[in-house]
Amino acid sequence: MHFELTEEQTLLENMVTAFVRDDYNWETREKIVKTEEGWKPENWSKFAELGLLSVPFSEDHGGLGGTAVDSMVVMEQFGKGLVVEPFMPSILLSGNLISKLANESQANEIIPKIIEGESRYVFAYAEPQSRFDLSDVKTSATKDGDEYTLNGFKSVVFGASMATHIIIAARTSGDQRSEDGITLFLADIKSNGITLQTYPTIDEYRASEVVIENLKISSDMVLGEVDKAYSVVEEVIDLATIAACSEAVGILQVLKDSTIDYCKQRKQFGQPISKNQAIQHKLVDMMIEYEQAKSILYAAVTADLSNADERKKAVSGAKARIGQSIKFVGESAIQLHGGMGMVDEYMISHYFKRATMLGVLFGNVDFHMKRFVGLTQSNIEPIDGSATIRGGY
């Protein structure tokens, strides 16, 4: 029983740490997010050189065969640097879908290009009415001969403007909210029939609304089995949720440490404000919340993720609990920074905003609490002797 990283994982961590330190300092990041594109394509080439783009793919396909611990290691460090390049949407989410679902010819065609950094896929799943429910898919795909025609609307697709390709979840059968009847389609993002409306997010990432109008897709571009995408989508989103939690934990560490440093330096009434017990206890509670968040992330990455029930419990548990930590640590960091916490120019507010948006990504606290309840509070046997009512009966 231990929480040490393997030698390979330590190397991976050192590599990403070095990238964030050397290529992603605050000034550099500020420049990147203010560009039209909102990312730096050279960094993607760097990720390819470092081998990061191969993390989710199997060794057969030239990948690293990465586990949840590997993606945690990368995302925690990316979190510390607020790295805006679309690693999570393109590699840990879309890459993992492709890794799990592509047939042999698709895999041979697609995966090498992703690993080399030539292709970037994004996954369009959410819709305006779906909120966090992955089974709520209105976008339709109707088959005519060897071709499907897709129509619909996808919401808040992160990194779509940076992508070369898109994976679209569409309904091929069943009711709007049925798990059965969802199919995934691969398409060039510049296809006729796809229109992106791209915008910056509050935390300076880029996302797009995706309008799909009479998009024609050949049936050999179906990813996985027709009608049967739901369970894999749920699994891959779960694994990406762990990545989001990892990024959040990296950010929480920065929020906590920076706030401690700030309170030691900031003087009022002739002494550092960290000498006040009211401030000290708040900082201690931030530290406790950070540690608890990190602990439940460790619980999730070491859970038996191959067992669907265990996976769902571990993921929803972690996301719900870390969501609470995000709120507490983030809000406290701003509070203790006082006016400086409110300022756009100073970095702390950017960490707070990113952490808060990660709290929403793939389902917020309420969503995951409810999912966790469903998995842990069903079929509970009433306590023995509950029929024994004494007294006047």
Partner: protein, 400 residues
């Protein structure tokens, strides 16, 4: 990262499990259940039977002691597993005052005579100890204590009062912090650590009844109590150092995760039996949410504890992080006693087992749940209040 135990540790886990199954007396289980039902204090026999059984099995009553003193010499992981199994089987807790608090001070700072005299009785459970630290005017500011020990020949004469002394009514011995030098430059520098036989003339134990009606703690009064000087541990005026050592020494199990897991299981079962709006309470979204939040907090705490354990096993030693385990562990116990009480609705009200109420009412499982809730408010106060724990983390961990 690997959260599985080694095959040796799993074999050990099975050994502990079997030992408990074969040796924990059903009569003890029944006796304790009956006391809880009747809102009565546990007897000395209830408190020491299991201790004595463990003492006869390879020093399992004192898992943390080195083998040279008859201890089990467990590794940190074995200690963790042992505590977890005892909690799972709902064994009565072995009172920590002798085995976990006083003994490590004796075998670390005491002389050979003291070790030979006291350690065997602590190990076997024949001698019951209590802790004389707090005083009416000295709670969190323990170093302000006023009980005096004045040397007269080969004796110390003790005068003063200790309070909140847990289970002093059963104790044969008390280990005390006393003031031997009232003129020391700093209050910490005038304190000594001394062992006192509770049968010595001049000692009086007065019960304190807490808000659940139970006599768990006491006042201990000292009126010209004559204690042999050979009972002083280590050097005179060095007591504060030993007391700090004691605080840092034995914090494993402080989070009580396994016992809290049991408590959540039970709350769920109670909530499955209780009805609300015609449905089992466990289907009420508001209550579901509370259970889920508690369960997740406990999972986090469990892994925080495992992380501390992993550090400890790697020889890095649990540091002031144990304050975190104390804060969160006691928060948890309080939250769970609250949820259990809340689960039974109106039946939180009856106070059973008093002289005015010997007819039981309500479902069997509801008895005295509110008593536990009220009783466990103590948890965030004792052992260094949770505010003091935050001060410790602020200073020792965050460097504020």
């Amino acid at each position: 990262m690997d959260t599985t135990f080694s095959s040796e540790d799993i074999a050990f886990q099975n050994e502990v499990r079997d030992f408990i199954a074969n040796n924990y007396p059903q009569s003890l289980r029944d006796s304790i259940a009956e006391k809880k039902r009747n809102n009565e204090e546990l007897s000395r026999e209830d408190l020491t039977t299991w201790h004595k059984i463990l003492g006869k099995n390879k020093g399992w009553s004192v898992p943390g002691w080195p083998e040279q003193y008859g201890g089990a010499g467990f590794t940190p992981t074995q200690k963790y597993i042992f505590e977890q199994e005892c909690a799972r089987a709902e064994c009565v807790i072995v009172a920590p005052f002798g085995p976990q608090m006083c003994a490590p001070v004796i075998y670390t700072f005491g002389n050979e005579e003291q070790k030979a005299k006291h350690l065997p009785g602590i190990l076997s459970g024949e001698v019951f100890w209590c802790q004389g630290y707090s005083e009416p005017g000295s709670g969190s500011d323990l170093a302000s204590l006023k009980t005096t020990a004045v040397k007269e020949g080969d004796h110390y004469i003790i005068n003063g009062q200790k309070t909140w002394t847990t289970l002093a009514q059963h104790a044969d011995w008390i280990f005390c912090l006393v003031r031997t030098n009232p003129d020391a430059a700093k209050p910490q520098e005038g304190i000594s650590f001394i062992l006192i036989d509770m049968k010595t003339p001049g000692i009086e134990v007065r019960p304190i009844y807490l808000m659940d009606g139970i006599n768990e703690v006491n006042e201990v009064w000292f009126d010209n109590v004559k204690v042999p000087a050979e009972n002083l541990i280590g050097q005179e005026n060095m007591g504060w150092t030993y007391a700090k050592f004691l605080l840092a020494h034995e914090r494993s199990g402080i989070a009580q995760v396994a016992r809290s897991k049991k408590a959540i299981e039970r709350i769920k079962q109670i909530a499955a039996a209780e009805m609300s709006y015609g449905e089992p309470l466990i289907q009420d979204p508001a209550f579901q949410r509370k259970i889920a939040e508690a369960e997740l907090e406990l999972t986090s705490l469990e892994y925080t504890e495992l992380r501390t354990l992993a550090k400890d096993s790697a020889g890095k030693g649990p540091g002031p992080e144990s304050s975190l385990l104390k804060i969160k562990g006691t928060d948890m116990q309080q939250k769970l006693t609250e949820l259990a009480m809340e689960a039974v609705g109106y039946y939180a009200n009856p106070h059973m087992g008093t002289s005015l109420s010997n007819e039981y009412v309500g479902p069997d499982y509801s008895t005295n749940l509110s008593g536990s809730y009220f009783n466990f408010r103590k948890a965030s106060i004792y052992g260094g209040s949770n505010e003091i724990q935050r001060n410790i983390i602020a200073k020792m961990v965050l460097g504020l």
